[in-house]
């Protein structure tokens, strides 16, 4: 009998979520921030799949995870377009240096 339960998966997802949040708030490079966001979305997906696998209706959570993956793909495409354009205009992608808008 396996000793692994739902909690093990949830702990992994909590750690991933926290690492993702850490990445988003400490990184200057826009691409790195995007990586942090991907970590957060993946953490949420683990939750969906784990909860439904242990809840007795495995497929329903999986389908939500599928939707989140598709959304992440759409967001990544937009992100790349914006980042490339920023690079063309500002010559860097550091969020703290892109700061023309202020009082």
């Amino acid at each position: 009998m396996s000793s692994i339960g739902l909690n093990h998966f949830l702990i992994i997802s909590s750690i991933l979520f926290s690492l993702g949040v850490f990445g988003v708030i400490t990184r200057k490079n826009a691409v790195m921030v995007l990586m942090g966001i991907e970590l957060i979305l993946n953490a949420a997906n683990i939750n969906f799949v784990a909860f439904s696998a242990y809840g007795g209706f495995p497929v329903k959570g999986q389908i939500i995870a599928l939707f989140v993956i598709v959304l992440a793909a759409a967001e990544a495409a937009i992100a790349l377009a914006i980042v490339l354009n920023i690079y063309k205009n500002f010559n860097n992608v550091n969020v703290d240096e892109i700061d023309n808008l202020r009082e």
């Binding site: 949830l10 997802s13 979520f17 993702g20 988003v24 826009a30 921030v33 995007l34 966001i37 957060i40 979305l41 953490a43 949420a44 997906n45 939750n47 969906f48 909860f51 439904s52 809840g55 209706f57 329903k60 959570g61 939500i64 939707f67 989140v68 959304l71 759409a74 967001e75 937009i78 992100a79 914006i82 980042v83 354009n85 920023i86 205009n89 500002f90 969020v95 892109i98 700061d99 023309n100 808008l101 202020r102 009082e103």
Partner: protein
């Protein structure tokens, strides 16, 4: 899954806009210089969607395996989104020419964002809300950076995207926890299981993360940091869209989640969180707006404050509060549309000219525009007899009925502070003078959009009772 004719008729506003997006795509592809006709095409399409939503007000239907609701309050939101966006398309026509972003894709994005908003307001399921919200946000990210040679516009897009998708991350993770606690993401099941759920730490954490994610979208303090930069940097017509219908869509999600729980007369554990958000937003928005020199930025802070007033209605946790919020949303939408429409007219070709100093002496040089702007500012500051006053009145009244008089008092204090910066613009327009010549040739389309908004502000201020009765009748 079977569809009846009744279902199809009830769904027709959503279907029409979906077909419209595809038609716009095809026109954009096939017709040369499609930009010229697409503006009016979008306007007519959105207007017919708005008309359909109004005549189908009592066609309630639950379609797509109980995933989507139409009729009643949902249709009021449909009307608000499509009519607001129709006004935005009027304001956009000349403005996007001036800004050098005259492409057909602009209208495709505008229509798609409206589709996303409609899906949010009809959702019966968290996953549906989430997908609609994403559809709307993706369109807004693109629209904010639409002016891709303008550094300010790009910066706005980057900031909006990074913070917006960070908020999405919180939202999804919160949904994951809610899913774990409930075993489903359907709002009905959450309402059924509410008694046991309200002590579940998993559900509470999930809801808290969800509310944090949503506070980003409605621009409530302390999750407002993107608002001033994005509202200032984005093209003005886009700011008009996302500050009005975009915010209304996010509020419609909160309303459809909360109002079944309110109707079942369950006590609220959200009230403390929402009240804190409301108080912080009202005071922060009003106080920081005083020191702004850019009009778009000032309106951004004022929109944070307005989000605070609307949150009062939700914190009050009664049906009066909910209909007050809907009234406020309608009023706020048309006040802001008029204000941003006027700003977009006065803005110069290089997209500067949105500072207070650019408005010096406008009252003598452009008496019509200045008069409309003054009227809009009076309405925004909540001076009767305009729409803004009754919005605040209904919301504050619901708070007092719920025994939260202190919240209403904070709201009144914040409104009094806000009068200062709205009236400051009027003072600049009528009492300062400069020799600079303001060359404005208002186009027919933009003037039509502004006149519609101003007319609605006045009508809502003169006859608020009939509108609030209409909203109440949809409960």
């Amino acid at each position: 899954m079977t569809f009846t004719v009744h279902d199809l008729i009830s769904l027709s506003p959503v279907l029409l806009i979906g077909v419209g997006i595809l038609a716009t795509l095809i026109i954009e592809m096939l017709v040369k210089e499609s930009e010229k006709i697409l503006g009016w095409f979008t306007f007519v399409l959105l207007l017919s969607v708005a008309y359909l939503s109004l005549i189908l007000l009592d066609h309630t239907a639950l379609v797509f395996e109980d995933k989507f609701l139409t009729g009643g309050r949902v249709n009021i939101f449909f009307f608000l989104f499509s009519f607001g966006a129709a006004v935005v398309s009027l304001l956009s026509m000349e403005y996007i020419k001036k800004a050098g972003i005259h492409f057909g894709e602009y209208y495709i994005m505008l229509l798609s964002s409206v589709l996303g908003m409609m899906l949010i307001s009809g959702a019966t399921d968290f996953i549906m809300i989430f997908i609609g919200l994403e559809q709307m946000s993706v369109c807004f990210y693109v629209l904010a950076g639409f002016n891709r040679r303008n550094e300010r516009s790009l910066e706005a897009a980057l900031k909006y995207f990074l913070l917006g998708s960070f908020a999405t991350g919180f939202l999804v993770f919160g949904l994951g926890l809610i899913y774990g606690a409930v075993g489903s993401l359907s709002i009905t099941e959450i309402v059924i299981g509410y008694e046991t759920l309200k002590t579940s730490p998993l559900f509470l954490t999930g809801t808290l993360l969800f509310i944090i994610g949503f506070s980003f979208k409605i621009a409530a303090v302390p999750f407002h940091m993107w608002v001033p930069d994005v509202y200032q940097g984005a093209p003005t017509s886009v700011t008009a869209l996302m500050s009005t219908t975009g915010k209304a869509a996010a509020f419609s999600a909160l309303i459809i989640i909360f109002s079944p729980i309110i109707q079942a007369a369950y006590p609220s554990f959200f009230t403390p969180v929402i009240s804190v958000l409301a108080v912080l937003s009202m005071l922060y928005g009003s106080i920081v707006a005083i020191s702004q020199n850019d009009l778009k930025r000032m309106l951004a802070y004022s929109s944070i404050a307005h989000a605070g007033y609307m949150l009062i209605g939700l914190a009050a946790w009664n049906e009066k509060g909910v209909s007050g919020v809907i009234f406020y949303l309608v009023a706020y939408t048309f006040m802001n549309l008029a204000a941003f429409g006027l700003i977009s007219l006065i803005e110069k070709r290089d997209l500067r000219g949105t500072e207070f100093s650019d408005y010096k002496g406008l009252g003598f040089k452009q008496p019509v525009l200045a008069g409309l702007m003054a009227l809009t500012m009076f309405a925004l500051s909540g001076i009767p007899p305009f729409a803004g006053f009754f919005g605040k009145y209904y919301v504050f009244l619901s708070a007092i009925e719920a025994g939260m008089t202190w919240l209403a008092i904070v709201g009144v204090i914040s409104s009094v502070i806000s009068v200062y910066f709205y009236l400051r613009l009027i003072v600049v327009m009528y009492f300062d003078n400069s020799d600079e010549i303001v060359m404005v040739t208002p186009s027919t389309s933009a003037m039509l959009g502004i006149m519609i908004s101003v007319l609605l502000i006045i009508i809502m201020g003169v006859a608020p009772g009939s509108i609030i009765n209409l909203i109440n009748s949809t409960f």
